[in-house]
Subunit: 203 residues, 2 copies
């Protein structure tokens, strides 16, 4: 048992305004952004959202759970899935790269996506989350339809290509990748992603 959390008296949120879950997610975004995954705490998120920590635990089981929900609020699995399936194969890579870069650009330089990426190389929990995003959202849906170890390898390599792009563009800021437009990235990297998506056996 942890000691009971002090309820913030001053500046307590007025009842009946806004959606507490959304307020908590916004506060969590700031907390993770300011302090990184490892040092962020549920207690501090509650303070920022001006709610009792118990309310945070009402919506989210743990810090991991809160972080996963934050990522989920910015990554749309259904959208990823449709990108992977709805487009003609020769265009799929182009659409995926442009869509990926646009989503990340719009999320901003201190988004939870960037935090996840930065934390993933040193924090096992962030690494697990990133692995799950890639395997569950990209490899799973794609390979599930077509099966096979080679399919899973090709799709996870698509994930690794996007991972490399994100780290080069948003963390390391390697030029000219960092300053290129999403369209320019798609023009060059798109065909390479399409090669991986195309099933070599022609199924």
């Amino acid at each position: 048992m942890t000691e009971p959390a002090p309820t913030p008296r001053r500046g307590r949120r007025p009842k009946g305004q806004g959606n507490p879950r959304d307020d908590i997610l916004r506060a969590a975004q700031k907390e993770f952004g300011d302090r990184g995954f490892d040092r962020a705490s549920i207690r501090a998120v509650a303070r920022r959202a001006r709610v009792n920590p118990a309310l945070v635990y009402h919506y989210f089981e743990s810090k991991d759970d809160l972080f996963t929900a934050l990522i989920g609020s910015q990554v749309n699995p259904a959208r990823i899935h449709s990108l992977l399936t709805e487009h003609a194969r020769e265009d799929a890579g182009h659409v995926i790269v442009r869509g990926f870069a646009t989503v990340w650009d719009n999320a901003g330089p201190e988004s939870v996506l960037v935090i996840m990426l930065r934390s993933a190389t040193t924090q096992p929990t962030a690494a697990r989350l990133l692995r799950e995003v890639i395997v569950d959202e990209i490899v799973g849906p794609g390979a599930g339809r077509r099966g096979g170890r080679a399919d899973r390898l090709r799709l996870s390599l698509v994930g690794s290509q996007l991972l490399g792009l994100a780290i080069a563009r948003y963390i390391l800021r390697i030029e000219p990748i960092a300053k290129a437009t999403p369209s320019a990235l798609a023009e060059h990297l798109g065909p390479a992603v399409s090669v991986l998506l195309a099933d070599p056996t022609g199924r």
Copy 2:
């Protein structure tokens, strides 16, 4: 001025044995491996190599310089350059991916390469070094011969593909990438790298 370093009396290395620079590099490999880039120190490297810190500074200007030299001892720019230029274009991606995975596999799970990768997302110095390795060793030599912003973008994207592969395989251990053989990786990722290497204008 820092205070004069205490000279280790006991276990001091006998004169005239081995190459001190190599001994220091081996000690640095252990120090960076055990403590990570940020917490490693020249003083501790000297202690591990059983030499006076002044001797470390004789060979290496700074901790950054020592780290760069360590990477240089495991990455061979001439070899990378020849991989990028000597092979027929359609095979180049295959050769590069297989060579890259083989070098990293042989370096082992706690090599300086993995340390650099793990540190690069949080430590500005490690990030700068990784950026320099990619830009100076991959983009520079390739684009230098052919020039142009599009060429630099394509070559830096090759760097980002290898970066994504390394993070997926050695840090996040995403399956089946982590357990795939270098040949299997080359079979699938090679054609995608070749697409980026092939000049779309046919020059």
